[in-house]
């Protein structure tokens, strides 16, 4: 019995010894790199945002001027997302929204879009999708320029019935043999614009200091 107890304690002590060293090394690395990692993440995000909200559109620290947006049917989101606000000389110039097209061929298509204060689209990008590679993936930027077709479009220019692919009588291009994907994206962007129109004022409200979110 005593032998068992001794062995138990001994082993535990040994393991603790190694664990302590390991944890110490690990923790130090963590704390040393923590800030750099945060910066990297932010830089990556900024890079994406800058693709659709070009630098001339804002002069504020856009990554800090953010707003939590609760799940919304119009955006297709089921979780709280973050909107980033672009301001030029203090005036709201654009907002960057996340949206989800739920009815892609392979499931959800995540989008990020920048809407100018005027309601015009500054740009749309696909963040992630499960469309068929080689067929439905032309909505991604390097694979095809299709997504750039949204630049400058607005609800003012196109009436609601035009927010369809050409095959269905709308204004948007598609690739033959793969219309489900563009249909889903066009629909999602259109709905996001509607969301923008409905919540325009609140989206640009000065809430940087006391984020309260939208109801």
């Amino acid at each position: 019995m005593k032998r068992i107890a001794r062995s138990t304690l001994q082993t535990a002590a040994n393991l603790i010894f190694f664990a302590l060293i390991a944890t110490a090394v690990l923790s130090s690395t963590y704390y040393l790199t923590r800030d750099t990692i945060a910066q990297s993440v932010e830089r990556a995000k900024l890079k994406l945002v800058m693709q659709i909200a070009p630098a001339e559109l804002f002069d504020n620290d856009i990554m800090r001027d953010k707003l939590d947006i609760p799940a919304s049917e119009l955006l297709g989101t089921t979780d709280t997302t973050t909107a980033y606000r672009a301001r030029l000389k203090g005036e709201p110039s654009a907002v960057v929204l996340e949206a989800i097209a739920p009815d892609g061929y392979g499931g959800n298509i995540s989008l990020i879009l920048a809407v100018r204060a005027s309601g015009e689209l500054a740009g749309v990008r696909v963040v992630s999708h499960k469309e068929t590679p080689g067929l439905g993936d032309y909505i991604e930027l390097p694979k095809g320029p299709w997504i750039k077709g949204f630049d400058g479009k607005s609800r003012a220019a196109y009436k609601d019935a035009d927010w369809k692919v050409k095959k269905d009588g709308g204004q948007f291009d598609y690739m033959a043999g793969a219309t489900i994907t563009p249909r889903a994206v066009v629909k999602a962007v259109h709905k996001a614009l509607i969301y923008f129109d409905e919540n325009r004022d609140r989206l640009f409200a000065e809430t940087a200091e006391e984020p309260e979110g939208l109801k």
Partner: protein, 191 residues
Amino acid sequence: MISALWVMIGISLVLGAVLGYSAIRFKVEGNPLVEKIDAVLPQTQCGQCGYPGCKPYAEAIAKGEADINLCPPGGEEGIHKLAELLGVEFKPFGEGKGPRAKAVAFIDENTCIGCTLCLQACPVDAIVGAAKQMHTIVASECTGCELCVEPCPVDCISMQAIPEDISTWKWPYPVFAIAPVRNNPQKAEAS
């Protein structure tokens, strides 16, 4: 940092305790693997594997000290079986290490002086005789290990291949023309 240390201390304490406890508590001895390996070996006890008999070789394999391709009497078949048993890749015999043709020892009765040296060498008691009497080999017990050949001071023991007769004949593998092709030679290269 401190909390991280505490967490890891906690985890290691529990784990270490459990492992330390069970290392003693669940200790078992013996290795059933040896028996299994031994069952695969041909029991010729010839020592060609470099171990004094099949069992020691089996033990060496079980411990991971010996390769599986050391037993010539077992043939490639034996290596395949070992490979399968141990879940390792098949390994062919080294250069010139393959099995020899099956043979039995034969004592030239004219020359035998009855020194009993071969009798002492035979691992399976296949030699009968007594000091100063002529020795003879019980062919049905002889495994052909050749251990008796070396010790004989008058070189009277030779290994004789077992000839094929009707009772030991085997059907040949169909696509190879092993047996003398008695009928149509073109059959041999079929497919």
